[in-house]
């Protein structure tokens, strides 16, 4: 764990800044980087023109049930031990003055995505409807975008060996349906829609409530908005460690899981 943590610190403070510095000059190029699918005006690369999709997370309604975490795994066939979205469950305060706090997290589909300019291939880009996507046929798996994301919401897909992340379930949204996590949210905390549409639920919520975004100071302009996000929760979200990982390591679970996967693959 010590090792992992220090690596993480290095990545956060060291490598990611280096990467930024290195690529800063080519930022403008990165935005206009060519991508065959986008150039061919393929709808799944362009998105629904005229719309701007956002998500509002009404934390008053989140019961920390992990239904979203679950559905995302199956809807997107996310590889074992990897997640596009999840809900951190934490405690604020000490007994007896203690409160529960839940923070559903996913790709923020930022207006100024830190992941896009650092991509050397044009694999990751923002569609016209605001959804930030990864083209896995163009991605080299260099990992710059993963390091650049201030929210840790990208991962290296073990199967495709490319960057991967939440794309608001574009496969459903592009068909007129909704992201899996929104469909299954028990408390109704996750609300998704087109902010350009004044009749949309997201527009109404954003007009009626003051909202917060994560790490506003990063200047990334996230398009995932939180209602009633306590500042203490925001501070916690990136530093929280789960005992699960320690227990998994100690019990030898990771090894077993990898073995199971290999066996499954070799059995076709």
């Amino acid at each position: 764990m010590e090792e992992k943590n220090s690596r993480r610190d290095f990545l956060k403070k060291g490598l990611s800044t280096t990467a930024f510095a290195m690529l800063a000059t080519s930022q403008a190029n990165a935005f206009s980087m060519k991508n065959p699918g986008r150039d061919a005006k393929n709808p799944k690369y362009i998105g629904q023109v005229g719309k701007h999709f956002v998500m509002v997370l009404d934390l008053r309604k989140c019961i920390g049930c992990q239904a979203c975490t679950s559905v995302c795994k199956v809807e997107n066939e996310v590889p074992d031990d990897q997640f596009r979205t999840f809900v951190t469950e934490t405690e604020i305060g000490e007994f007896p003055d203690v409160r529960k706090a839940f923070l559903p997290q996913l790709c923020n589909h930022c207006e100024n995505p830190a992941c896009v300019p650092v991509c050397p291939t044009g694999a990751t880009f923002k569609r016209e409807d605001g959804i930030v996507v990864v083209d896995n046929t163009v991605c080299w798996g260099c990992g710059y975008c993963i390091n650049a994301c201030p929210y840790d919401k990208r991962y290296f897909n073990k199967r495709t060996k490319t960057a991967d992340k939440c794309n608001f379930c574009a496969q459903r949204v592009d068909k007129g349906l909704l992201p899996g996590c929104v469909e299954t949210c028990i408390g109704g905390a996750r609300v998704f829609g087109d902010i350009n549409d004044k009749n949309s639920d997201v527009y109404k919520l954003l007009s009626n409530f003051s909202t917060t975004v994560l790490k506003e100071a990063e200047g990334t302009k996230p398009q995932v908005f939180y209602i009633n996000l306590d500042s203490k929760v925001e501070e916690l979200f990136s530093t929280t460690q789960s005992l699960d990982d320690i227990v998994k390591a100690e019990e030898g679970f990771q090894r077993e899981w990898m073995k199971t996967r290999e066996e499954a693959q070799s059995n076709g």
Partner: protein, 1007 residues
Amino acid sequence: MQSSRRKFLLGAGAAAAVASVAGYKETLGAVVKQSNKGELAQDSIYFNSPNAEFSFLNDKFVPDENFKVCATTCIGCTTQCGVRVKIDKKTDKVLRVLGNPYNLLSTDPWLPYNTSIKESYKLLSQNGKFETYRSNVCARGNVIFDKADAENRVLKPLKRVGKRGENRWKEIDIDQLIDEIVEGGNLFGEGNVKGLKDVRDTKTPINPKEPIFGPKSNGLSLIATTHEGRFKTVVHRFLKSFGTSNFVGHTSICGLSMRAGEAAYLGNFKKYPHLKPDFENTEYLLSIGTPPGQAGNPFKRQGKLLARARSEKNIDYTIVSPMQGNSDTIAVGGRSHWIPIIPGTDLAFVMGVLRVIINNKLYNEKYLSIPSVKGMKALKDASWTNSTHLIIQDKEGFGKILKDGKTPLVLDAVDNTLKSSNDVIQAVLDFKGSVEYKGKTYSVQTAFHELSTNVNELTLEDYSRECGVSVEKMQEVAKEFTSHGRKASVDCHGGTMHSTGFYTTYAVMMLGAMVGNLNYKGGMSPGGGAYKDFVGKRYNLFGYKGKSKVKHTRIDKTRMAYEKTNEFKEKKAKGINPYPAKDTWYPFTNALESEIITNSAKGYPYKLDVLLTFNSNFMYGTAGGENHIKELISDPKKSIPLFIAVDPFINESSKYADYIIPDSVLYETWGVVHAWAGFQTKVNTLRFPVVKPRQATFKNGEPIEMISFIIALGKKLGLPGFGEKAIKGQDGKWYPFNKPEDFYLRAFENIAMDAKPVPDASDEDIKLSGIEEYVPSLKKICGDNWRKTAYVMARGGRYQDIEHSYQGEFLSHRYKKPIQIYNETVAMSKNSMTGKRRSGTVKYYKQRVVGGETFEKLYPKEQFPLVAFAYKSNVLATPNTSSHIMKEIKYTTYVDINPKTAEKFGLKNGDYVKVSSHDGNTEGYLRFRHGVHPDTIGVEQGDGRRAEGAVDIEINGKVTKGKISRRTGVYYNKIGLKDPSRKIALVTDFVCGSNVRHAIPVKIEKA
């Protein structure tokens, strides 16, 4: 373990918080290699996500023909929500689960029932009314369908080789298996085993001294799981045909103390009704140990309604619990309150609150003074109580309610004279004295007076000392609870599974009587009921010639008083004290799963010959099972000579079976279920196989599962009610029972035809709900009604529309009987071990064993300084351990402890610890949690498995290795206690006999 973990001071686990960190590591590795190309994703942008099942672009609806979407029921936990599943037609695999928007357990408000299937999909699309009709699935429901293809699933009938419990098996032909269990013989080389054919003797008494115990056919007992839609079928069509009175569900290890306590409050030990708050409209919810969103049933619906009530409506809620559950969030500020409490002392807290309410007259006096239906109607109220009824205090008739025939007598508040309660609108509430009736003087007191006397037995300070909640807090709660008129509600559930759970529940409900919340909007609801299913308009599916109607003494000694036995009568006749009996009896308990193996071992009331289990896991689920039942079940001579399990997986119980019959799983099964509580309108949710069952079939092609098995077995035994002319039509005709569909399609037809029959399903409905393959059977079985039956199947059930929920401020579906401030049945019954009467109303008791000794004395605090409790998981549920993905969402469970307590014992976050009670111990990793009472340790239920893929299984000589991911976590029930006041028994609720899993005194140390 690495020292670094000391740094992590954190309560609850975040499933995936560091998953991305692992991702970095692999990224770097891949970058270095560069050449290491991964597998090609299915789509450049959508990766490996399956295509959407429909397209709604530009309002044009285009279904994807590769999939079918069927409405069915999730049985991943006991809530049993209506869902729709997306199935890949080519692979016959479930890809995704969606909520069923017609079903109120998944949706609120739910769709009007006459909405077409196409419209229902459209309403849930981007341009529909998604935010109104959002229909969802919980964390487990979303993923557990993968267990159908788990590597440890039982696909063929198995017979054990080697000794019981060794988990070594051989596959065996189903016909041969049935032959062996019917004929018996030297089946295992361990001596002769009596077959079912010989057990089925419906004439010879099983115990000649006690004819009331019934015939030898009672030697067969069934232990099932929850009512999942097939249990009643097995009971009525097989067991009652066989001639046994022995069948139990899982209630005694689930929430029996709650159910029994509420049955006492509601005066109905036959149907065992229970109440739930009207979560959405209540203004103040006081929940004892059942935080909505964490626990309780219906899980999803409660969570959803609470989330809405606290953000859009007007709820304030207080959770009294050893652990702060998921009903709390800092995002709702001051609306949510937590009162930490020591497990098993909730009765003291509630008695304290009742004392404040009664002594300060905070109760609704007008309501409590209503003595009859007439009074209720005159005052336009929605319910009434027996608080003004008079209880005889004379030696003769002590404890009985003073009645004229069947009608209770009360003192009219107008003129203080004794009258029939039917003639009185307001009666005297608090009275003790004598009355004259028909020339005889009776010493009496009102039920309310008895209640008042009992709550005043202890002072507020006493109650406070017992439970650790301050007097001020109790006063505050009492005041708050009584400040919302009828819109104050109470709740409790599995948290009452401790030795005084019965009276705890009774007391919790009693709070409701103080404000008169029953049948009120925002108050308490008995549920909305259901349409008639098994016994309905078209068929009586439970009726057939030759069905046994006699009720005999059950193996669990429930539904009968000791005083009816010859044992009692003979002792009495001889002039010796009939108490104690040889063991406990439970006159008003319905069933006790946790007493069966032990009773058979004792041979009291009798010994069983055959145990049949149906998806049951009494071993893992019973506190103390693994330590104390195991030795009885592992030796065929001790308790169960022949053990047959119907189970899709080999669990901690079925691993001791002699034979295992495979069973269908989840969406492969048939069933009809109702919602339990917490809803206001009629609901029937149903299931029919929407994917092909994976397991072996009978020669006729029917998959081997519970229902097809009882049909085959029934026919082999020549039992009545199987084959041709076995199902009774209400038209006087008889219909065949050869396949499960013969039964279930007719149950669906009953539902369709009940009340005002449903409309006909359109061809489009049938196509879009994926039930085309059922059309031939529907036409054959349901005849003219086939499209109506299809209408119900297309919607996964039948549901009354939401506008039928309320009538003004009343609920539409109201509980009709009076609330029992005093329950005569309970009062007139005696503890068969002590001969003592039970209290007819709530009364304070410390945690105790049946003989009366308190935990305090038996398990002194010096030796066992902490109190253990288990809590419900919002992700894990025992029958789903074989789901690979579920374990990704929640990998493991911990021993949760308050950091301050841990410090006292020199323990650190992440330490591997041993938790020991007087009679058992368990191990696990310690997790710091500030939201846990410092005098306790808590464990999330559902992990630490010792079967179901956690251990090696050998079938036909081939070994499937057990997995760490199934074994990980804390096996809580290993700390269960033995009752030292009984022979071979676990500690139970001393009134109703439920298995005690909470409030267990323990010590903790480094393992």
